[in-house]
Amino acid sequence: MGFVELFLVFLKASFLSSGGLAPLPLLQDELIVQRHMLTNEDFASALAIGRIGPGPNGKFVLSIGYYAGGVPGLVAALLGVMIPPFLAIELVRAHRRLATRPWVVGLTRGITASAVGLLCAVGYSFAEPLVTAPASVAIFGVSLGVLVFTKADTLPVLILGSLAGIGCYLAGVPLV
């Protein structure tokens, strides 16, 4: 895929999502489902990297850019995430005028509702291939429980999940 096309994929994902991990379903759909350029493993790596370094979690998109097209891919992703936030200037100007209008509240709610459904769809697509291996199902179930009930930070959970993966490898327990 060319630089411009890749840039447009990231621009679209960024425009149609709000919040750190929100572009995940769109990118997954474009790059894994439709174009078969990347794998679930690439996305998991990108998410883990997004959690490690400084900056917002949304920077995982830059790693995905790198996986999709090396350094130019990362630059395409960077440009893609850089542009939509400038709409904020218009928002600041329009804020007092529009923020309380019922249809704007409704529209924001609609976008959020679809985002929740899409996150479930992504979770399902990650979880579905794991159902064949009990060890992976266990890691999935435990991490979901821990994240939901303890509000734990995601980085330690990711690290523990990775260590569990290494443990399974050493013990000869299949993960997929």
Binding site: K12, S14, F15, S18, G20, L21, L24, A44, S45, L47, A48, I49, G50, G53, P54, G55, P56, N57, L62, S63, Y66, L74, L78, V81, I83, P84, P85, F86, A88, I89, L91, P102, W103, V105, G106, L107, R109, G110, I111, A113, A115, V116, G117, L119, C120, A121, G123, F126, L130, F140, G141, L144, D153, G161, S162, L163, A164, G165, L175, V176
Partner: protein
Amino acid sequence: MASRAYAGEIGVLVHNVPLWKLFLAFARISIRGWGGGTGTIYTMHHELVRRGWITSAQFGLDFGLSRIVPGINLCALAVIVGYRLNGVWGSIASSAGFLLPFSLVTLLLTVGFAELTANPFGGAAVKGAVAVTAGLTFALALETAQSWLPWSERLPALLMAVYIALSFILVTFAHVNVALVIVGGAIAGAVFFRPVEGGA
């Protein structure tokens, strides 16, 4: 152009902050903001209030606004603060200062990570991380639903829950285009998910 306000008040304390100062301040925030979104928000608030540029309350309002904008919320927050401190050019300076440092670090980490996954231990670690990612995504979905569903307004809340289920089914089983589902949600929302008058 300086106007004074107390810490609890909404207010921008200085105007026309030089562009290079904005760039450097946000570069500093970017490189020091470890610990994901929360860590970066904490650092940004600390650095901006410490410099006496904006009040805490102003930061709070701008944070709320940044959450409505498409894309990475923290980038939008950098744009808003830069805009308040020195107009459109200020927003460009703050945005560039914010994005460049963490992008470079992310590049280095990604390159290192590719080496890691090439060996079997790294590969197994990533497989474990995939399982966690699945859990993470569902957890995020639950958290988002919990904080966004207007629990006191029964009808919109119910309709939103229906749309959540519908969008999951459409994408997973009918393979409907993801962007279409979001735009559909926005249109359905503007019509059906409006706040109910006196719905509390």
